[in-house]
Symmetry: C2
């Protein structure tokens, strides 16, 4: 995704440029982006400065953990480095899912970020996901259980089945979060109770 | 408003800091702010860079027009400098209302930004608004009509009545945008047709 294109610098003014940039974010249309821009104009200039500085340093401050693939400031990340955690890997689609599960405090093991789900129509095949790395970790880190926490969608189900198959040889039990997550929904918007139920009711695959 | 406070630099990481900053914008809760942050992480780093640079330069690029009070990159603004415009002043509450009316293309005169409406309970009295400047402009710029485009709220009505009174001595006709704008609503969200109707049906005060 290249969001920096199509913002000519000279022809339009700073308000239009900032509105145009904000309106590329998810859930922000042209009008709501405009509201943000005028809000920033009316606010203390220190706010725009803080936000600008954070954004400029952002991609340099945050990298992916070389072990689990989640976003982190140090590599390996704090979770991977924590030896007190259980030898269980929770496999998630995206890095932000790690945060959602961490905040629920329902799980005290390790994570593995796939980077998506198998979706052949969109050109995402197993080799595009961090599945090979998962197999290596399961063997090397003496993992006792793999919990699949993909979203309960068709692609999530397909991916879960695929991973269960490729992990069979390792002999490690593979479970999946119980439904309880609304079908077709998004892990990110699950409340703590729903997540808790999903962890406790997870099913053998 | 000081938004740069309460964001300790060391104790939390870059993702949390950026989420916290975004969540101070209107209409963005903690979850939707988090979504934006992860979206930015997944996007091309050029996007965060563009947005960061725009924000850092923003308050320096944009100032208030010393004549009409709207946000501009040059002073006086392009509208105030345009001698081909009609000698009519449209009085609005906030600078963003200028843009809304300009985009409707229903009005080809000048603007005057009050900077709010009379609201004694919130400590906003006539002397806190750019009403004195309006009187000076009406006399000096040989204005033929003043159109009051405050939002149709109690405070907007009060302010309109007050301005109509103080402009009586100038002999310049003072009109107000017709209702057609939904009562209690916000000028910013009016569609073009509603705005058009309001301009055409404006009433003598």
């Amino acid at each position: 995704m290249n969001y920096s294109e199509n913002v000519p610098r000279k022809s339009i003014n700073a308000i239009d440029r900032l509105t145009s940039l904000f309106s590329r974010l998810p859930g922000l249309g042209k009008k709501s982006a405009g509201r943000l821009v005028y809000h920033i104009l009316d606010a203390d200039p220190g706010y725009a400065r803080s936000l600008g500085e954070e954004l400029l340093a952002f991609h340099q401050a945050i990298k992916r953990c070389s072990r689990c693939g989640s976003y982190t400031e140090s590599d390996p990340c704090a979770i991977c480095s924590d030896v007190s955690r259980e030898k269980v890997i929770c496999v998630v689609e995206r890095a932000q899912d790690v945060r959602v599960i961490e905040e629920s405090k329902e799980f005290r093991g390790h994570f593995h970020v796939l980077g998506g789900v198998i979706a052949p129509l969109e050109g995402v095949n197993p080799e595009n996901l961090a599945i090979g790395e998962l197999i290596v970790r399961v063997r090397r880190e003496e993992i006792q259980e793999v919990i699949l926490a993909m979203n309960p969608t068709v692609e999530g189900d397909t991916t879960a089945l695929y991973i269960q198959k490729v992990l069979k040889d390792t002999g490690v039990p593979v479970t999946r979060l119980a439904s309880g997550l609304p079908v077709g929904g998004d892990l990110e918007y699950a409340d703590r109770l729903t997540l808790s139920r999903s962890f406790r009711g997870r099913i053998q695959m």
